[in-house]
């Protein structure tokens, strides 16, 4: 287990959507599978200015984040960039918080929460510093269905901004982008593989066009496959087992 997490990096998937999935399997189940393999799945729901969208949309985005042990945030398209930045940092910090808490428990036998508040200062400092210096790999799965038409340009700019601001972190940060629906007839495609170069990212995501349905589930599955490809050949055997145990 924890095949993805095991390599000393924080790996997260952020699903950005403005509606509910309507093609392919359940995105909540896909998020649960991803988390079983060690990835954190968070969601950002874009609030439609015309007030469309209902309870079931909210249930789905919250369900994905819950199953993926990630965060769920709501935002207007104008603030998407800011929300993404905050989320990548918060997720990194939260993951480290969990690791530190686990370590602490195994050493002193208590949770961080069980420590008196005034004795938490040093641990909090450590979490902050570590959160800045650990390597980060982030896959953004972006909804490019028909309803995103007027928002896609802002979304592209926000992706570029995210890369720009992550490059000042002390640790390495790379981003990959999956669009769903994908390019041509594909349900989803990797429009940009992991990169640390914001100019490259900007160039690659230009290809994205809005139109079609919302295959959120298949997009999450694709993100997991992309994460796993990064694991390297030595782990391939174990990898196959892991995937089979999750998917079959």
């Amino acid at each position: 287990m924890d095949l993805i997490k095991g390599s000393g990096e924080i790996k997260q998937i952020i699903v950005i959507t403005d509606g509910r999935s309507n093609i392919g399997g359940s995105p909540i189940e896909a998020a649960a599978r991803a988390n079983k393999l060690g990835a954190v799945v968070s969601t950002i729901a874009i609030i439609n200015n015309d007030g469309s969208g209902d309870e079931r949309d909210i249930e789905e985005v919250e369900g994905i984040a819950r199953a993926g042990c990630g965060l769920c945030e709501y935002t207007h398209i104008e603030n998407l960039g800011r929300t993404m930045k905050m989320m990548t940092q918060k997720t990194a910090q939260k993951t480290i918080e969990q690791i530190v808490s686990r370590q602490l428990k195994s050493i002193v036998g208590v949770d961080m929460q069980a420590l008196e508040p005034n004795s938490r200062f040093k641990i909090v400092d450590f979490i902050e510093k570590y959160g800045d210096s650990i390597n980060l790999k982030c896959i953004i799965a972006l909804d490019t269905s028909g309803s995103m038409k007027n928002k896609l340009d802002t979304a592209k700019k926000s992706l570029y901004d995210l890369m720009e601001s992550l490059k000042y972190r002390q640790g390495k940060s790379s981003i990959a982008v999956i669009s769903y629906p994908g390019v041509g007839e594909q349900a989803c495609s990797v429009v940009c593989d992991f990169t640390e170069d914001s100019a490259e990212l900007r160039e690659r995501i230009e290809i994205m066009r809005a139109g079609g349905g919302t295959p959120t589930g298949p997009a999450i599955d694709m993100a997991v496959r992309l994460m796993l490809e990064e694991v390297g050949p030595s782990n391939q055997g174990r990898l196959v087992e892991e995937i089979e145990s999750c998917y079959v």
Binding site: M112, P117, R120, E128, R169
Partner: protein, 291 residues
């Protein structure tokens, strides 16, 4: 909303009980309530699920408590509610107005605006000298403390060690959003936030990095009937050529506005008192107008 009126918040560690009176506001990491403590005094209480942020902010408020530039803090504690753990601290309840309220309708005089910026520069200089930058400088975080006649910064969540990455910011004041540099906390980042706040006050409106360019703002400033020296200081701060708040202070405070030299040995408190008076009169005025 985490809680309702008259709810009792009981600290898990100190067992102190606070009665919730009203919600004062909500920020990125939590919510702030007006509460009555066990000693019957009023406090502001910040409540959040984010332990790291609450602990960090408490630490900084404690560290800079003596400067009076921030609210004084008291207890750091946890709250257990419906199986969920929250974290909170209590701090001084500051009565007064935020600069946002004071700037409503843009009725502050040029002199008052200069004074506010001068005082803020001095406050931020203290922080910079300690090795920290206040990255999320904005109208909402600046309060005019009515009782003590002081300007106060009310949110310490954005205090960042010099050299580290800026995490909390508002695009309007953020140099990276304007394409004018990195998002790393340093003294020139601080001066950029100050210069943008000053520009916004002088123009009497919000500025938008997505729709405007720094060069346009500088041109706009030239059109205002203000001493030419001011343009130079602002330009230098926006270009990153100024690296110390004290230089900015010396420049701004020596500019004559309406024949009055601002420097003039006025203490920060006295300056604030004058601003207070202006603001109170203005707010009163607005109330009457609305009636």
């Amino acid at each position: 909303m985490y809680s309702n009126k008259y709810d009792i918040i009981t600290g898990k560690w100190t067992n102190k009980r606070y009665m919730l009176l009203k919600k004062l506001g909500a920020g990125g990491i939590g919510e702030i309530y007006l509460v009555q403590g066990p000693d019957m005094r009023l406090y502001a209480l910040k409540l959040s699920t984010d332990m790291v942020s609450i602990t960090k902010e408490y630490k900084y408020l404690k560290k800079f408590g003596d400067t009076k530039h921030f609210p004084e803090v008291y207890e750091l504690d946890d709250l257990e509610k419906k199986g969920k753990l929250y974290h909170f601290f209590t701090m001084e309840y500051i009565q007064g107005y935020t600069l946002k309220q004071a700037m409503k309708n843009n009725l502050l005089s040029i002199k008052a605006k200069f004074r506010i910026i001068c005082i803020l520069t001095k406050m931020l200089k203290v922080l910079n000298d300690y090795g920290y930058v206040y990255t999320d400088l904005k109208y909402e975080n600046i309060m005019i403390d009515r009782r003590n006649n002081l300007l106060r910064l009310v949110d310490a969540g954005s205090i960042t060690e010099i050299g580290r990455i800026v995490k909390e910011f508002t695009p309007m004041y953020d140099r990276a959003s304007w394409g004018k540099g990195t998002r790393i906390a340093d003294c020139s980042y601080q001066l950029f936030t100050l210069a943008l706040l000053f520009l916004s006050m002088l123009f009497g409106r919000n500025l938008d990095p997505d729709k405007e360019k720094i060069e346009q703002l500088i041109k706009g400033l030239k059109r205002l009937p203000l001493p030419h020296r001011l343009n130079e200081v602002i330009k230098k701060s926006l270009d990153g050529r100024l690296r110390d708040c004290s230089i900015f202070y010396n420049e701004i405070s020596s500019i004559r506005v309406d024949g009055l030299k601002l420097h003039a040995g006025l203490t920060a408190a006295l300056n604030a008192a004058i601003i207070m008076l202006t603001v109170s009169l203005l707010l009163l005025g607005t109330i009457f107008v609305y009636r």
